[in-house]
Symmetry: C2
Subunit: 152 residues, 2 copies
DNA sequence: TATTGTTATACTCTATAACTATA
DNA sequence: TATAGTTATAGAGTATAACAATA
């Protein structure tokens, strides 16, 4: 009953607990789950929000480049863009310089929807990051960004 | 051509770039992808390795508790445990104190397989974390662990 | 009543290959 | 040849509901 390695006392993670990949996986899943719960009413998902955010900052960008920025395959972008266009959040017009491509822009509805969601997301992040100071949050983003920069 | 917000120059992420959830998502996906590539030959996956690691540190634990530690539903544990038992890495015997449950332990093959994979995983992590000092890596794990602790 | 393991099932996400029209 | 968008499809991963045996 007092065996320090006994499962009935307090189960341990073993080697897992020292792996950055494991903690990234769990923290990321926590954020994804809470994101979905917080934005439940809006029909917004992490990927869709990412697309809207990028299109706002790069008006006229095509969907291939959006996908490249987010690590989404061209084939999988089609349904996502269709969903946003059908929802009236995104406008898709023939690109002037390349007749194969579409130039993407936010509609007015897309602009306001993006802002509404951003407000919800900021509350959601503040909730999950409540234990970290502002400087620790910047530290975290900085470390993650350096990892991401290693390949992309 | 010199418009600083032009998509053709250097596309930006917009609001996304300030969100911890986004960076967690991308960094986590990078680790998952490289994990899969590094362990490709072994048939090992992140979840399976997690199960083996927990069983080693908690010999005799049942699959429900393993799933609870990893955030995996009971229903989804069945196929995972079957896969590891069929692969000869995990042994499943009737628990002495609860006839509903199975006590899980690593087989000898499971022990050596776990160690082999751990060696590969450590190289994979060292590769992806190459830009971070040892102290920065500890900082990162510490920050992630504090996020995870907020709910579980 | 609650819990362990289980089955069945459905839904999302992701990955690949191949096609078309343009470049 | 290469690229943008598209279709079809298959595989993971994940979520829910329900059941039998046991607690």
């Amino acid at each position: 009953m007092h065996d320090p390695a006994s499962p009935s006392d307090r189960p341990e993670l073993g080697a897992l607990d020292r792996l950055v990949g494991y903690h990234l996986r769990r923290a990321s899943a926590m954020f994804a789950g809470d994101f979905a719960r917080t934005l439940a009413g809006t029909g917004m998902r992490q990927v869709l929000f990412g697309i809207l955010s990028i299109v706002r900052s790069n008006a006229g960008i095509n969907q291939g480049n959006v996908g490249r920025l987010l690590g989404i395959q061209r084939a999988n972008m089609v349904a996502l863009i269709n969903e946003l266009v059908d929802g009236g959040l995104l406008a898709r017009v023939q690109a002037s310089d390349d007749r194969r491509a579409f130039a993407l822009t936010l509609t007015d509805a897309g602009q306001t929807r993006l802002d509404e969601c951003l407000a919800l997301i900021e509350r959601h992040e503040a909730e999950l990051l409540g234990d970290l100071s502002a400087s620790e949050q910047r530290q975290l983003v900085g470390l993650l960004a350096r990892i991401e920069a290693r390949e992309r």
